[in-house]
């Protein structure tokens, strides 16, 4: 399960992991929960499944002999009513569906583009919460099976995604500890997305002597651009140091691409460059 703050590239990382695993010969299923159509475009040849809470709940009710409820109430009604009465039930049916897919044996790896970091904790906590409040019945059984999945590092790992920037790094550190302490789920490596590993710049003193012969406007452009990039990189480096320092789990760096939105080719290139990641070997 891939989780991270909005805008850090969770969907990209989901696609890259799926691509790398598929290239390594695994049968991969990609699951998305937010109705994001972008994901399918990033891995056009892989199987992508969309799971929504109303659909999952509907299916769950049918599978458990509550077809009449599902039939008599419209779907939003079911979600609002049942979801409000027992919060987390919509999350638990989604997790239950994921567990069912994982158990089906049709795939070697199920990669889930999870909810945004804030919701990731409540999402994954839903099983424990329901196990506390609901003592028996089908929901309880479902919660127990989901907990089994979440607590088994051989079956399930959470990959957190961040950028090398202050707020995302703060949030990923908080989320990592909360997931470990409160959910008890195994954390995979942290993926740092968009790390600038591009052109190597000369030092500012070398740069200023190089541009000395050029006209003022050109020199100013070259100098300003170099300074801008150096200072972004310096910020990145500080944030990476802080991440390594505060969160002692392995990191995987994904290099930035010169684009304002990735394509399937970018995903393939990133997957090719992905080395040393233990994210996909162990979990089922």
């Amino acid at each position: 399960m891939v989780a991270g703050k909005g805008g850090v590239g969770k969907t990209t990382v989901t696609a890259v992991i799926a691509r790398a695993a598929s290239d390594a010969g695994l049968r991969v299923l990609v699951v998305e929960l937010d109705g994001k159509p972008a994901l399918a475009g990033l891995v056009p040849d892989l199987e992508v499944m969309s799971i929504s809470a109303p659909d999952a709940l509907d299916e769950y009710l049918r599978d458990n002999g509550f077809a009449r409820i599902a039939k008599r109430l419209n779907r939003t009604g079911v979600i609002d009513m049942v979801g409000t009465a027992a919060p987390g039930i919509d999350d638990i049916v989604v997790l239950g569906k994921i567990k069912q897919l994982e158990r089906s044996g049709q795939w070697d790896l199920v990669v889930v583009d999870g909810p945004a970091a804030g919701h990731a904790i409540t999402f994954l906590m839903s099983a424990a919460g329901l196990a506390d409040s609901v003592r028996s019945g089908p929901v309880r059984a479902q919660a127990d099976e989901v907990l089994e999945l979440l607590h088994d590092p051989q079956r399930c790992q959470v990959v957190l995604v961040t950028l090398a920037e202050t707020t995302p790094v703060n949030e990923v550190i908080e989320t990592a500890y909360a997931l470990e302490d409160r959910v008890g789920v195994q954390l995979g490596p942290v993926v740092v997305n968009g790390v600038d590993v591009g052109v190597e710049l000369p030092s500012s003193s070398v740069a200023s002597s190089v541009v000395a012969d050029l006209d003022d406007a050109t020199a100013a452009t070259l100098t300003a651009a170099a300074e801008f990039r150096r200072s972004r990189r310096e910020m990145e480096r500080q944030e990476l140091d802080r991440l390594v320092d505060r969160l002692p789990i392995p990191q995987i760096m994904l290099p930035a691409r010169l684009v304002a939105g990735l394509t399937a080719e970018d995903v393939t290139a990133l997957a090719d460059g992905l080395t040393g990641g233990g994210a996909m070997e162990d979990s089922a």
Partner: protein
């Protein structure tokens, strides 16, 4: 890039609603708008739903944002206040306002099902953000309310949220629960309702009993809630309320911003400004291709690296501007303001002022 849409926002609104997907700098944008309003002599309050420590730090609030407005220490002709949305406390306030007796308040606030509604019913956060906005709008301390909406896929969630509870109460299950039993008493025979028995088997009978108790306790308050929701909706749709759509210079968030604008336009809600955060700044006048060519021709490896760097940064900017173009097409090019990615993180008032300077075309950053 003209600064006019941003100027209109500050000078002509009494409410500014910032919408956009998560992670695009919506909270920061809201703070920047509030800061600028204070600079222009207005008494602004910024409501954020983002508990991010960073905004509190940037505003100099050592103890973090509170659920009551706090005045920011600022040298400005106007005032800037900031607060964080407290969904549950706001909901409790509404219950207190419309309950017929203190006993009714207690019965509701102590009910487990109510606590779930206050915290988890979809749309409650948006509803309470709208409610808070309405309350602050009526507060004499302020003449501008800037609210940062919960990140959602749907811009209409915020417009429609105040109706969410009414719809919930109108739901047929509620009516089923409130069905007069034999003898005219408003007592529910769960045992006689197969559907309730079935739901009880799914969620547990304690949970069901709580919900029944909630609906009984809530009886009589629906009208008050509904009227209040109507007032809130009227304010959101009033001409003095401006909508700002916020995005970052990336394909996915622009696509969402375009979708937001289209939805708002469909609802006859005008988008005053579309703010795109974090676009790479322009370096010089040429294109990325020019810079690549200069890099190719450069003999000195250091000079080549410098040109390649310019080419990289211009490539990013060109692609970002291409991504932004569709937003201009739906919102109107003159309403789109593109703000540069800064060479440092925004973590203090000076950082916010730097963004304000770009947004409002101040000649220099003021201290």
């Amino acid at each position: 890039m003209t600064a006019r849409p941003a100027d209109d926002l500050i000078d002509e609104s009494s409410v500014i609603v910032c919408c956009g997907s998560g992670g695009v700098g919506k909270t920061t944008t809201a703070a920047v708008l509030g800061l600028e309003a204070a600079r222009r002599g207005r008494r602004a309050v910024v409501v954020t739903i983002d508990p991010a420590r960073r905004l509190a730090d940037a505003l100099g609030l050592v103890d973090g944002l509170a659920s009551e407005p706090q005045r920011i220490d600022l040298e400005a002709p106007g005032e800037l206040w900031a607060m964080m949305l407290d969904t549950a406390a706001t909901f409790d306030g509404l219950v207190r306002r419309y309950a017929e007796s203190p006993e009714q308040v207690d019965r509701i606030l102590e009910n487990g099902f109510y606590r779930n509604i206050a915290g988890a019913l979809s749309g409650t956060q948006e509803y309470m953000a709208a409610e808070t906005l309405h309350a602050l709008h009526g507060d004499e301390r302020f003449d501008l309310v800037v609210v940062d909406t919960p990140p959602s896929r749907n811009a209409l969630d915020f417009l429609e949220a105040p109706g969410v509870l009414s719809r919930f109460l109108d739901h047929r299950l509620f009516r089923l629960l409130m069905l007069p039993a034999k003898g005219g008493l408003r007592v529910i025979g769960t045992a006689t309702q197969p559907i309730l028995r079935a739901i009880g088997r799914v969620v547990g009978s304690d949970v069901l009993a709580d919900s029944v108790a909630f609906f009984q306790a809530f009886a009589g308050m629906e009208t008050g809630f509904r009227e209040r929701a109507d007032d809130v909706i009227a304010l959101i749709r009033a001409p003095e309320t401006s909508f700002v759509v916020v995005a970052s210079a990336r394909h996915d968030t622009i696509a969402e911003a375009v979708w937001f604008v289209e939805q708002l336009v469909d609802q006859d809600v005008e988008v005053t400004a579309a703010i795109v955060n974090r676009a790479h700044p322009a370096f010089g006048d040429g294109s990325a291709a020019d810079a690549s060519e200069r890099a190719r021709l450069a003999v000195d490896p250091d000079l080549r690296a410098l040109w390649r760097n310019v080419a990289d940064l211009r490539t990013l900017r060109e692609r970002e501007l291409d991504e932004i173009a569709p937003l201009g097409a739906v919102a109107g090019d003159e309403r789109v303001v593109v703000l540069p990615l800064l060479d440092r993180d925004v973590h203090d008032l000076d950082g916010l002022r730097t963004i304000a300077a770009h947004l409002f075309d101040h000649p220099t950053v003021e201290r």
